[in-house]
């Protein structure tokens, strides 16, 4: 059976099993490698994407469930006017290994599209993604920078 996924504004018809997590459809079927696999149980957030502007851990959502959702990945973020997220990440020199950062940026993008000026407590509540390198304080600074510059 085929499923239609709307990714970064474009519809893609995928002839894959309906239980395939969106993460793997993105990576293996669409070649969008910016979204990362970290745990497969929605615990780490490395695979976070936007689905109808909300942060979603794409390892935990099947393509069957994702039909009809407007999904934005890190590759499409600039096109929807949120390239300033990446700019702030560069300005604050956030990444170390960088593996979790796509997910961090997408989680922060979702937060800021819902809440234009989050408090630190709201940032903490939204930003539960794991960063093993410990870049948390710079992520926080980058989020504040986006808020200030928007």
């Amino acid at each position: 059976m085929a499923y239609v996924l709307r990714i970064n504004g474009v519809d893609h018809r995928l002839d894959i099993d309906g239980d395939t997590p969106v993460l793997w459809a993105l990576r293996d079927n669409l070649g969008l490698m910016g979204t990362k696999y970290g745990c497969g149980i929605s615990a780490c957030g490395a695979c976070t994407v936007l689905a109808d502007d909300a942060a979603v851990r794409s390892c935990g959502v099947s393509v069957e469930e994702a039909e009809g959702l407007d999904i934005i990945t890190i590759e499409g973020l600039a096109e929807v006017g949120m390239g300033d997220m990446s700019d702030a990440w560069v300005e604050e020199d956030v990444p170390q290994c960088g593996y979790c950062q796509s997910g961090q940026i997408m989680a922060a993008a979702a937060l800021l599209s819902e809440n234009k000026k989050p408090t630190d407590a709201e940032i903490d509540a939204a930003m539960t993604n794991i960063c093993r390198c410990g870049t948390y304080s710079r992520i926080r600074k980058a989020i504040h920078r986006v808020v200030e510059e928007r």
């Binding site: 894959i16 293996d28 615990a43 590759e75 903490d124 509540a125």
Partner: protein, 719 residues
């Protein structure tokens, strides 16, 4: 001796490294490997393995042999080059050279680890930059027919009087010149780029999803596979019926080895579903890892049993007459997993008796040799292409995650990307060993320790990874950080027991320092408490005459406001440690919330890493090391049950999250030769934390992780 050799080499040779560029000056040099993580001297043959190319359009590319795993060397090494070259920083590009046949491409003989990259590469990279600079100056001097001394290199151009020529413009002329044997290296006072906070060259790619890690490798006609190894370490595969996997849409092959089953298909999900459909039968009779409860007894027994003497200074027995008070305690830490964010993976393509591997690996050069030996092909026919590493922390100095990809590609006769599930990654780690230490000290009447008698029981990493480092029953690596105390305690003994509980062991960020600092600095705090001495004052007295150490303590005291009374309800602890050529001290300030929740208020760190190349990276590494160490101190523990790891994913192997982390204030001192920065942030945090907890609660926490004592970290912000 002129030090490292730098040679003018053909452009063709550089192109073989992988840069698709035209013309210009190419210098080849030898990046020394020094000692690898196993103590082997590598890269000592002087082969050219690093290159700098200056193209006519002004682009400057440096090829490197050291992996980037977050520690920032792909920014710091180019900074060193650009400093001597007087290059325009915006023109610098980085190329990571694969480990491959000499003459075709460069040989990355050395591993990346031990916080060693800048220390081992500074000399040659600065020299290559200086020589390139002087060749460009000479090219300008020849062109303008002026003396060399009149040609000044500045920001990507040579200037003489009112004449200026860019490096790109001069690159072809410079390429015709012989490389001089030596060139003047700047003194620190002359630095213009080094020592200045400089943003990472890879930040843009890593902030836009464009950086390519091992998991992102895609080759034409590639299969994606996943693996299950016998859950019991050392166990074997008895039998498996492949049929159920082969009915899954997208699955193409089931490959077995004597200890694993792998399913290959059109993507990770089909492969993963196929693997889940299988019911392999395992033979765990050859498994040998002992369960956690047995290990706990075994450690205690090892401490009481036969030990090897590593330090024996003064005479503890005779000194007992000066001892007015004795204290004895034991400390213990569990097995830990590195939990790199990117799970283990590698891509292999075996064809025409050649093996190509693409992998996020710390030790490409060494694994290349191992691959050649193990798979019976010529060294020259093996190439290891190194991707970005989604975290290393010591886990990726290994071959175990490369081997399955090669076997699968051999069987399938196609390129195969072999990606481990998180569960597989954690079930088959190379763990930081468990460790237990018994410490006894005798204090004299003023309360100073005059005797120090330590015994450590730690299974040996070297015994598994580099047996030649073990002499008799001594693995010196197991006790680093406890064997060479900076403290002037006249009578000291260190004994070591090397039990073996069968579990696979490996390097974990800061290796033995992760527990020796916890043991030593906790015990010193206990001594300070026992003698009623401030912990800073006790250490200052034990470090009399040691300028660098005292300067660091003074800075730490000042930066943490130690002399001022903390706010009501706040408590502080400190720790100091020397490792990887650096000195580091940390102060934790915390308060206790309800339900034994710890609120971290602030953390202050002072590192003396000798010379600061990129302060921004040093700050990031110390912050990151502290958070890595905090996770271990609070939550990190791998248990062994039925010969297998119990914790298999982040739901049971908890990590510190953003909301729990306080501001970390990092100060940098420069008191000597270049030291490491990737690992030193980790060791002091556990004792600084538990020492603060003692100040807050009166309870001495001698065993990690602290969650086992009912403690957890509170969120720092609330509305």
């Amino acid at each position: 001796m002129n030090g490292p050799v730098v040679r003018n080499v053909s452009r063709r040779r550089f192109l073989q490294v992988g840069a698709g560029a035209a013309g210009g000056l190419v210098l080849g040099f030898h990046l020394p490997g020094g000692l690898d993580a196993w103590g082997n001297r590598v890269g000592a043959d002087g082969r050219l393995n690093g290159y700098v190319m200056i193209e006519p359009d002004g682009t400057i590319t440096i090829s490197l042999t050291h992996a980037e795993m977050g520690q920032g060397v792909h920014t710091a090494l180019p900074m060193i080059l650009a400093e001597e070259l007087e290059a325009d920083w915006s023109t610098i590009r980085v190329l990571l050279a694969p480990a491959a046949k000499e003459g075709a491409v460069v040989s990355a003989a050395s591993g990346t680890g031990g916080s060693r990259t800048i220390r081992s590469q500074y000399g040659v990279v600065s020299k290559a930059g200086a020589i390139a600079r002087d060749m460009l100056r000479q090219a300008a001097a020849n062109r303008w027919n002026v003396p060399l001394e009149d040609c000044i290199a500045r920001n990507g151009a040579i200037v003489a009087g009112d004449r200026t020529a860019s490096y790109g413009d001069l690159s072809l002329g410079a390429s015709m010149l012989p490389a001089p044997a030596t060139a003047a290296i700047k003194t620190k006072a002359e630095w213009r780029l080094l020592g200045k906070p400089t943003k990472r060259l890879d930040a843009r790619d890593k902030s836009t999803g464009q950086a390519r890690f091992g998991v992102d490798v895609v080759l034409e006609d590639m299969l994606v596979g996943t693996i299950q190894q016998c859950p019991q370490w050392g166990g074997k595969l008895k039998t498996v019926d492949a049929a159920p996997a082969l009915t899954v849409k997208g699955v193409e092959h089931v490959v077995t080895t004597d200890a694993a089953v792998m399913v290959l298909g059109s993507g990770y999900w089909p492969a993963s579903k196929g693997l889940a459909a299988l019911t392999p039968e395992w033979d765990s009779s050859s498994a040998k890892a002992e369960d956690s409860n047995v290990v706990a007894n075994g450690l205690a027994k090892a401490l009481r049993g036969k030990t090897a003497k590593i330090v024996d200074q003064g005479n503890i027995a005779q000194a007992s007459k000066f001892v007015s008070k004795s204290i004895t305690t034991t400390y213990e830490v569990p097995y830990l997993h590195q939990a790199t964010m990117e799970p283990m993976n590698a891509t292999a393509w075996v064809r025409d008796a050649k093996i190509d591997v693409w992998a996020p690996v710390q030790s490409a050069g060494r694994e290349r040799l191992r691959i050649a030996q193990e798979f019976g092909v010529a060294e020259d026919d093996v190439t290891v292409h190194v991707t970005f590493l989604g975290g290393g922390f010591g886990r990726r100095s290994s071959m175990d995650f490369i081997r399955p990809a090669i076997i699968a590609s051999q069987e399938a006769r196609r390129p195969v990307k072999m990606l481990w599930s998180r569960e597989e990654d954690m079930s088959h780690g190379l763990m930081r060993p468990i460790a237990k230490g018994r410490f006894a000290a005798g204090l004299n009447v003023p309360g100073m320790p005059v005797t120090w008698d330590a015994t450590l029981a730690v299974p040996s990493i070297s015994k598994q990874q580099a047996p030649h480092r073990v002499t008799g029953q001594v693995d010196p690596v197991s006790v680093y950080g406890a064997d060479n105390l900076p403290y002037a305690i006249p009578h000291q003994r260190l004994r070591y027991a090397m039990p073996d509980f069968g579990a696979p062991l490996g390097f974990w960020r800061s290796v033995p320092h992760s527990y020796t600092a916890f043991f030593v600095e906790s015990f010193l705090d206990e001594i300070a408490q026992e003698s009623g001495t401030d912990p800073f004052v006790l250490r200052e007295r034990l470090l009399v005459g040691q300028g660098r150490e005292l300067a660091l303590l003074a800075k730490l005291k000042q930066a943490s406001d130690w002399a001022a009374k903390p706010e009501k309800g706040r408590f502080r602890g400190m720790a100091f440690h020397e490792c990887f050529g650096s000195l580091i001290g940390q102060v934790v300030e915390l308060s206790m919330q309800e339900d034994d929740d710890i609120r971290l208020e602030r953390i202050t760190a002072v590192i003396d890493c000798g010379m600061a190349i990129n302060p921004l990276t040093i700050q990031a590494q110390i912050e990151g090391g502290i958070i890595y160490g905090l996770t271990a101190a609070m939550y990190g523990r791998i248990d062994v049950a039925d010969g297998a790891a119990v914790q298999k994913n982040f739901d049971t192997y908890e990590m510190v999250r953003m909301g729990q982390v306080p501001p970390v204030d990092v100060h940098i001192l420069e008191g000597g030769p270049i030291g490491g920065i990737g690992e030193p942030g980790v060791p002091p945090i556990a004792p600084a934390l538990t020492n603060a907890l003692f100040a807050a609660t009166g309870t001495r926490y001698r065993k990690l992780p602290l969650m086992d004592a009912g403690l957890s970290l509170a969120g720092r912000h609330s509305d």
